[in-house]
């Protein structure tokens, strides 16, 4: 069976061990999770949406995965200040990822958004972020922690449980919800851990954690990728 094409916007990366100069990369565990799910993972170049028709570029794909990455420029969600901890901001990356989120939802392409990807969808729909969760004690970096998933949500269906132990790496989190988004999972400290869009006509789930980190050994996490690829196949 032909593997459904899953577009994964590449991350601009200043260094990569195999290359002499700056790279466009995606995390190996992420790509492998899509592959295990039966998808054909395709990194796509973040082009300037002012000059290229991103919707047209997405037409050939069966699904989209918005991966993790650096922080979104705070002005994108209306902030006039910028917290000192905000890192790795790239205007072109932001512009492209935001456009991919909007176009994928509009085009009814199945979409899984991870970590920064969740934040991208939230901002794309008019939401905002807490620029910093308050330092090493409060942020979710190098953290394996439990989340509670709301029964009946797509996230709960995909993961197959209402509690999950998940791997996180982020220092920002959702503040104001974007239009139409609902919370599908939450951490003990109240951090929004998953978002859904009830009005979306295609499969869409956004998680603040990194399911790819544990997907090779935790089938509930692999199920998120499996569900993306299954939805991509039937779309």
């Amino acid at each position: 069976m032909t593997r459904p094409l899953i577009a994964i916007p590449a991350r601009f990366s200043a260094t990569a061990s195999a290359l002499r100069y700056a790279a466009e990369a995606n995390a190996r565990m992420l790509v492998e999770a899509v592959w295990r799910a039966g998808g054909e993972p395709v990194s796509i170049h973040p082009s300037d949406p002012a000059e290229t028709d991103v919707a047209a570029r997405l037409v050939r794909f069966d699904g989209v995965l918005l991966p993790g990455g650096g922080d979104i420029a705070p002005y994108c969600y209306g902030a006039t200040d910028k917290h000192d901890s905000v890192y790795d901001v790239d205007d072109l990356q932001d512009a492209f990822d935001l456009e991919v989120a909007r176009r994928a939802l509009e085009s009814r392409l199945p979409l899984l958004a991870i970590c920064r990807g969740l934040q991208i969808v939230n901002v794309a729909l008019g939401g905002s972020l807490h620029q910093d969760m308050g330092g090493p004690d409060l942020e979710h970096r190098h953290l394996l922690h439990p989340v509670t998933i709301r029964p009946g949500t797509r996230t709960a269906q995909a993961v197959g449980a209402e509690k999950a132990e998940v791997s996180c790496y982020h220092h920002q989190r959702v503040d104001r919800l974007g239009n139409g988004l609902t919370v599908a999972a939450i951490a003990e400290d109240g951090t929004v851990e998953a978002l859904e869009l009830p009005r979306a006509e295609s499969w869409f789930t956004a998680v603040q954690w990194h399911p790819e980190d544990t997907a090779s050994t935790d089938s509930s996490q692999q199920n998120l990728f499996d569900t993306l690829v299954r939805s991509a196949r039937s779309s």
Binding site: H130, T148, R150, I186, G190, V192
Partner: protein, 496 residues
């Protein structure tokens, strides 16, 4: 709310749409650009920002209320029609009960179950009660000489400025707004900076229920600017305030310096709770004493903060109170299983901790608590705190702490109990536990307090007035008597 899990409430809290604008003249108003952050005391995080009103925004709100009173339909409606709209407000409060309870719990830290069961019930009942009362009032016609007719009528007093605190944001707003509206007044409501969100929602509900534009305006801002502007405003006819005695004095000065507006104050307290050896049930007396001081994190003007116990039963009663303090579940206000939430702000927590440190330095004995807890959450949580060996001269026994801090004092005879009870500048409330009918009446008469509870505490309903004597304030909220604050008596004498 009891069958909803903590996690589900955390999620619903994240999905709340929180208001971010003034409610003036029936519309949302963004204000002049200045804003302040509303911080959730449960985790110290910013919930949202609301406008920080300057004089111009207060002017706008007062002008809207003035127009609505001078030329709008509200004061001229048949009382039954005003009543219907108040009843509709009660219905909408009921419909949006969960949203309002979550908002209150988030903005000021009280347990969600208290917000839902107690705060919202009070607000709903208040609007319903005054809605039902609106067309059941009568005026007077005294018996005068046969060739004369005297009419003594109550007329709406005009524009009411209502300035309310954060401890019961909707209850206390409702206690001002509902009778003022029933009387035919129009209102500018300024909630505390610590609890502006539920009040803004109330403003929106008023308009949704059919209040004409300008009848209920809500402006958010601080006391020194927005509160002062309302207090000094020449177009505000009545100022109704609940809050600290210090700020109450400001409002009296503002009135003196402006238009001599009527100022009604519901201020602080240091309420005594007297337990006599013949109390019908000492366990119940102790449990109620503990409940009373720890309910709402002790942030209550009527909190029974001085437990006066007869020396013969002091150990027994104190032990029972401390036991209860130790059992009390302190934690995230959004957890339906907890009994005490977070103090309203870090600043307030620090003030309460200052009182506790002062009490220790004065030589009172700390029996329980006294420390901040759950610090890792970023929230302002405090252990239920009990001191005994408190001397009547100590600051611990005299100053309002407005936190979960109980002072136990002992006495040897009834006269001493009454003397101790009244040895305060406040006179808001008092409790008394006795089986003797005669003692109950004699001591109740001797207590200088607006409310005396016998063999109970913090009980009552809308039929009875609430307010203080001495420096606890003037005028009464609740009951038919609240209307006295929002009406002026007019005598019409007709020679026939």
């Amino acid at each position: 709310m009891r069958n909803v899990t903590h996690e589900e409430l955390l999620i619903r809290a994240r999905e709340l749409g929180l208001p971010t604008q003034h409610h003036i003249d029936g519309r949302s108003e963004s204000g002049g650009g200045a804003a302040f952050a509303v911080v959730a005391p449960r985790d110290g995080q910013v919930l949202t920002h609301v406008p920080d009103a300057g004089e111009a925004e207060v002017d706008l709100a007062v002008a809207a209320a003035r127009r609505a009173f001078d030329s709008g339909p509200w004061p001229r409606l048949a009382p039954a029609d005003r009543g219907r709209i108040l009843l509709r407000i009660a219905e909408l409060l009921e419909e949006r009960r969960e949203q309002l309870a979550l908002t209150i719990s988030l903005e000021m830290g009280k347990p969600i179950t208290d917000a839902y069961d107690i705060e919202l019930r009070a607000a709903i009942t208040t609007f319903r009660w005054y809605g039902q009362l609106a067309d059941k009032l009568t005026d007077e016609s005294p018996h005068t000489a046969p060739d004369t007719l005297a009419l003594v009528t109550r007329e709406p007093a005009g524009v009411v400025g209502a300035v309310v605190p954060w401890n019961f944001p909707l209850t206390l707003a409702s206690w001002k707004v509902a009778p003022a509206l029933a009387a035919g007044c129009t209102v500018v409501l300024k909630p505390s900076e610590s609890s502006p969100l539920s009040a803004l929602l109330l403003g929106r509900i008023g308009t949704d229920a059919g209040l004409p534009p300008g009848v209920l305006n809500v402006v958010t801002g601080d006391g020194p600017t927005a509160g002062r502007a309302i207090g000094l405003h020449p177009d505000v006819d009545v100022l109704a305030f609940t809050g600290s005695t210090a700020v109450g004095r400001h409002f009296l000065r503002y009135a003196a310096d402006s238009n001599l507006k009527r100022v009604w104050l519901e201020l602080g307290g240091k309420s005594p709770n007297i337990v006599l050896p013949d109390a019908p049930d000492l366990e119940k007396a102790a449990a109620t004493a503990a409940w009373g001081i720890f309910f709402n994190q002790g942030e209550m003007c009527t909190a029974p903060s001085r437990l006066l116990v007869h020396s013969s039963i002091a150990e027994q009663v104190t032990d029972a109170v401390v036991r209860r303090a130790r059992e009390l579940k302190v934690g995230d206000p959004l957890d339906p299983a907890i009994e005490m939430g977070a103090l309203a702000s870090r600043g307030h927590l620090d003030r309460v901790l200052g009182h506790i440190a002062g009490g220790r330095a004065e030589g009172a004995r700390l029996l329980n608590g006294g420390e901040r807890v759950l610090t890792a959450t970023g929230g302002s949580f405090l252990q239920p705190t009990v001191f005994d060996r408190v001397d009547p001269g100590m600051r611990l026994a005299r100053e309002e702490i407005f936190g979960p801090v109980l002072s136990v004092l002992t006495f040897d005879d009834l006269d001493e109990a009454v003397r101790l009870a009244n040895a305060t500048e406040y006179g808001l409330a008092a409790g008394l536990w006795t089986s003797d009918l005669s003692t109950a009446h004699r001591v109740s008469r001797a207590l200088k307090a607006g409310t005396v509870w016998v063999n109970c505490y913090e009980e009552g309903d809308l039929t009875v007035p609430f307010g203080g004597m001495k420096q606890s304030g003037s005028g009464r909220d609740k009951s038919v008597h609240a209307l006295e604050k929002y009406t002026e008596l007019k005598t019409t004498w007709i020679q026939l």
